[in-house]
Symmetry: D2
Subunit: 351 residues, 4 copies
């Protein structure tokens, strides 16, 4: 159909790029016209993403070229490391393209925060305000007219979705929030290192960036908006023995010590009741294992009344709701089509 | 040698029983004379623990018999589910045997806590005061003369070892402590269930008992002693993708916001400097993967000064320092021999 | 749409049942009207298959009832243990329903083989000839008019797809074929046992049924048809460390010692060139990891000319091409619709 | 004790080097005086092998220096890639040191085979005859007086131990032997690559070098000696989902079709009855999982009389009996001490 939107992917050779290609191959309203890769330029997509054989036609990786993107695309996904999109995206926007940026380059509103957390001076501070943080559960309305979407980090997505209803309801102490995140190995991307070498990575329970993870900046920013005041978040990620998945366990203290689990659960059920990709779990706790391959977030809560404290859980597939799935969800909203288009698949189980 | 101490194991067919048999087979000062199992009575030890072939002679499982234990043993390990030892242990003590109880039945000092956490009325409250909590890092001196050792739970061991130096130094807020524990599948024991069925258990990041885990009772009890005041502990365990290992990540807030990571690290290094089975980790964070097969605890800290908060880590092999290894360590102290006897093995890596 | 075919699943609470429900939920031409389970009758499908929440409406498990199936279904999948379908299926056929039997009860043509391999006397030997063995790559034409499809076993599917082109071409010695199969844990089904208990099942390389696996009967039967003479197959399955996947490595000796790898590869490429769910792999060898979640079989060959021998590989997702996916593929053919309907998804990677 | 033999390890920073250091740290009769590493020269052993903290004193990695080895060592382990030892070892032997070479450089008797399989011309063909192939189960007597031990490859060790008794007894057809090997990820060594990257390596069932694996050369050489005639071996290794372990499944056809499983089992039991590190398994099949951390080989057989064929199994820990453990076993024999010294540990279970 000629009506299909033409989509480009910058940085298409990694895991997130592969997941975008997989999802978009089945998406009825778009067509991938450009997929760039510095390393694999000129080679077929299937030379890297061989699992997609039969689903990506004869598409080849292109070298990165603004002209090519302008010529062939209406919308571009930036699936690039921190620091690449900040220079490239403004040029695409200038020429009228829409951009969904999976990197952190436009997530923070305050340009100074980039110096603190990412160690660069932001070259396009004016765009930071125009960018919409791509968490539909928070910014659906703004996304409808967005030209630039800053897709959240995977740990940030899990952390935020575990916390939003409680923070919004003023139910928890904003000064004592500890988010303990567990993630699978795919979160580290496709580049081998000793830390991802199978004999070293298998069976781990390994904390990392424990004294300040970059995603904290966007989590605090968004929770501040939700709360209407400062919210301080300790966030410690842990690599654990899985390929896919991210679980946020937010340890919090309740402002009202008499609040019981059912009441808190209802706050979550109400807040997320109409969300197409959030499922409130009861009778068990959320586990990323049971959302693998899907765009769903499973959310749940546990309250220990003895201590007036709670554990708030959000489980996602880090490559789906934590990256490519959420990006497609945002794209759907931006394009004005049903948000679930091309995403409405159940998880794979067991896996 | 006739000088060897005669040792019995009640409940020898499970994983902890197997680990005790493995360790004691190589221990130069003791001899296992009785190993009981209701289910496997009469069968060779190697029918269950076939990996021990060649290391346990012709020993067979016996049915549980007090008379047999009294006749053949000087010291007995109780490797039984909650609620068994409380009735059996008093009889063994009466007749002069020493008991190292790996179950929770004598860990708590306050008999009422058994009603709260374990749902039984304790039949021997007087013994609770006499029992010594078997964490050598806290109770080494009392262990030397102990007749009854209450070996800590594995999650409790990891939680306590992560927290003791900070609590002892008054460095953290005792009202806001959240211990996030990750554990391997062997912690659930040898009995199959849907929760441990491989297709369901592989790759999980699964919270459990999130609104109040039993081990909290012993953790709070011991920290209260250390702090000299009430300490409240939120503890949420998570099953993750590994067979062995337990990691405690204690999320805490510092009483002195100016404390930096090196200063906190020194508090730990000083407190544990002479401990034969605690290693203070720098340059990386503790990961149970690197203590597997050994009795070591790797301990480490991370401080985020921006928030005045820290993450305190302790990594153990749940079947070793979390169960059988610690029990043998306690036995060595009770027997007055070098604490490291039969335990001084490095971890296996990679595994 | 009233035009949707009404489908029932007998034995819907296991992994294969869950996979059928997942696939059929997205299938545009059918509707699941009955899903039976003895154990969970009366409970919502999502009480067991909670990952399917939002995809199976309010459907509940029914007790097994012929009347209900006759009333509500046009076609029934039998997802039952060996020995159940043989009595049930004839009644459904009598009343004009179509049956796709995922159990072994109608796979063998010779009723005496059921006494040898399955230890029962077959009650409906006349139906054995009418049943069509549900491997589309061998029996596509017969499937178009089949009323009873005997869906192949997962190990048999992998073994057959690795061997068919070579046997058909007379390229290998039919007296020396050793098929070494590796499988993930989901092949054992949903019922826990010590063999599938995670601490025992993780990291295994465990042979089983090594002196005669039941699937050999159907493999030899089908290869005999292909070869036009007797073919003897040694088949040894091994449980390995994965949840999904089955790989057949067929060790064979070439009849023409001068045959090289490229020539053999071409035989495979030609034979399978039009197959919608077979992909011939070059440059790497097939690995089930890269077909997970899809209905594809990856096939490949290696020749060692020094010895005039070859290794023939077929990699499948055991729950897809090895069970539910293949059953849906057969159903599509039976229903006269595009064979790929509801199945045309790429694999998930990485996973 | 001054009586301890002084031992060097060339190439001590990899997994095999680490395993040698672990074993020798506990060995009562030797002392490691030199451990070389090009990459880590000057750094403490524990900077790489941090799990060995407390077990290797202050030993540091040295750069490779013949003079240093001559000065400080009586015996040297070569833990180097193919092609390094062939030049270095002759110099050490000249000066009277003993060498245990874990590389393939002295395993083959026929120098021309090095050109075929390893693509180098052997510089010391005279030493090939003097080298003793370090499989004690075949060459114990020669090892007692060996100056140069060529330690077998891990896949070769498993293949040989599965086959020796059957070949020796003339029980199997020497023209149709297919050895299907499964191995854990540690076999690939410590250097990261895309093939060992956790997201790609987890859950695999991946054949490699399927048209001719180098270890075939030594397997055929040794079996030829045992059989007194040519033996042809097809060997196909597969990476599977585990860190440690190697299983050889040898698919063979029996020369006497009436031979039953018990008779074949007895042949194995008799052949290996006095071997300190071979255990004949009955009632289950060998699985490397149950020898992890030990030097044992579990061996077993399955016979399918219908076809007159058998599967012969040998399971090892690839870093122990497949590398470092076997090297220490050989060293013990060379040194004239009890073969089990420093090796007599049971496996770890579960792990």
């Amino acid at each position: 159909m000629s009506a299909k939107r033409r989509v480009g992917i910058v940085g298409a050779s990694g895991y997130t790029g592969g997941e975008l290609l997989r999802l978009l191959a089945l998406h009825p309203e778009v067509e991938v016209t450009v997929a760039t890769s510095r390393e694999y330029a000129g080679q077929p997509i299937t030379s890297v993403h061989f699992h997609l054989r039969g689903f990506v036609g004869n598409l080849k990786f292109s070298p990165l070229s603004i002209d090519l993107l302008l010529e062939k695309c209406d919308l571009v996904f930036m699936s690039t490391p921190a620091g690449v999109s900040k220079d490239l995206t403004p040029k695409l926007l200038e020429h009228g393209l829409s951009v969904i940026d999976l990197s952190p380059d436009f997530r923070l509103k305050d340009p100074r925060q980039y110096e603190v957390w990412y160690e660069f001076e932001h070259p396009a501070p004016d765009l930071l305000e125009k960018a919409v943080y791509g968490l539909p559960e928070l910014h659906r309305e703004e996304l409808r007219s967005a030209k630039l979407v800053a897709n959240p980090g995977c740990n940030a997505t899990a952390a935020l979705l575990s916390l939003i209803p409680a923070v919004e309801a003023g139910a928890i102490d904003p000064e004592h929030i500890a988010v303990d995140v567990k993630v699978g190995s795919s979160e580290a991307g496709m580049k081998p290192s000793i830390g991802t070498h199978h004999p070293e990575r298998a069976n781990v329970m390994r904390p990392y960036e424990a004294s300040g993870h970059r995603h904290v900046a966007e989590v605090e920013q968004e929770l501040r908006r939700v709360a209407g005041k400062e919210v301080r978040v300790a966030l410690v990620p842990h690599a654990v023995g899985a390929v896919r998945g991210a679980l946020a366990t937010s340890h919090v203290w309740l402002t009202d010590g008499s609040l019981d689990e059912l009441a808190l659960w209802r706050t979550y059920a109400k807040r997320y009741g109409n969300e197409p990709f959030v499922r409130i779990v009861r009778g068990r706790y959320p586990d990323p294992k049971y959302v693998i391959g899907s765009n769903f977030t499973d959310v749940g809560v546990a309250v220990e009344q003895r201590l007036g404290r709670a554990a708030l859980f959000a489980a996602i597939d880090n490559l789906m709701k934590g990256a490519a799935g959420q990006a497609v969800q945002c794209m759907n909203i931006v394009l004005g089509i049903d948000e679930r288009t091309g995403l409405n698949y159940p998880p794979l189980r067991p896996v």
